[in-house]
Symmetry: C2
Subunit: 154 residues, 2 copies
């Protein structure tokens, strides 16, 4: 079996985040990968859903938890274009997903879009029982450029 890189999946997630913008939403997207295969994808939909909870990762976890058990989800990888906020980190935790890979850090996003909720995935998972592994910085530069373009019109 060919092994795809983290960059391969993140690039797909970044393309999906562009689609979210085309839809009229914010530039965020997430993928769920199992055995090197994308099995679910989700975009930010806060504007089109008129629902502020509809972040990409929340949408993904909501779908994933309806389809898979936490035992199954523990074997999957969640790719997201930006480090999950407190809401989405909590959702991912409750779902049982154990691996999170992101491109831009939430601190990068704060610097570009403005700092609101300083509590990000690191703080949410601190002292948690059996927390997920979190890896950041995959195609970080592409995600940062995407945010700069969207939030700062650069």
């Amino acid at each position: 079996m060919h092994t795809y890189s983290h960059e391969y999946f993140m690039d797909q997630a970044l393309q999906l985040a562009n689609e979210a913008v085309d839809d009229g939403n914010h530039p965020f997207a997430a993928l769920l990968v199992h055995n090197q295969e994308i099995i679910l994808e989700a975009k930010n939909s806060i504007h089109t859903s008129k629902d502020i909870t509809r972040h990409a990762e929340l949408n993904l976890v909501s779908k994933a938890s309806q389809l898979y058990t936490s035992t199954q989800l523990a074997e999957m990888i969640l790719y997201t274009t930006t480090e999950p906020c407190a809401m989405c980190s909590g959702a991912i935790y409750w779902s049982g997903i154990k691996t999170i890979i992101y491109a831009a850090s939430a601190t990068h996003l704060d610097q570009i879009a403005g700092k609101f909720l300083a509590c990000h995935s690191t703080q949410v998972f601190k002292n948690a029982l059996n927390p997920p592994i979190v890896i950041g910085g995959i195609l970080e530069h592409k995600a940062i450029l995407q945010h700069q373009k969207y939030w700062l019109n650069l």
Copy 2:
């Protein structure tokens, strides 16, 4: 206009949390109050929705943000039977709701149901821009008894 107490609203929320158990879900419920009137209510529905994100407050914020602007929500009070978890605290923050009143603390819940995610509302709102006011301990004993009954069969 008659002024209802925090206890009055919390008692209604606790009754709703009992209904959540009757439905087959966990004992949590939340209300949104504006000008002394309950305008929205939500129960935990993780089992009946087969969706782990369906905590009471997430359900409430999801509905509320579809109906009201963040400016309107800033004038409302969210009552919840237990201090919001990281996911729900994040959702409440993004909605613009500025007042949260709870009965049992998340630490109480951890002691009864088991400690999973140690990050609760205090940690989520720490260092946030313009965080909500959070008041705990309203009918705390009733909420603790409800949790003991549910999680420990006491």
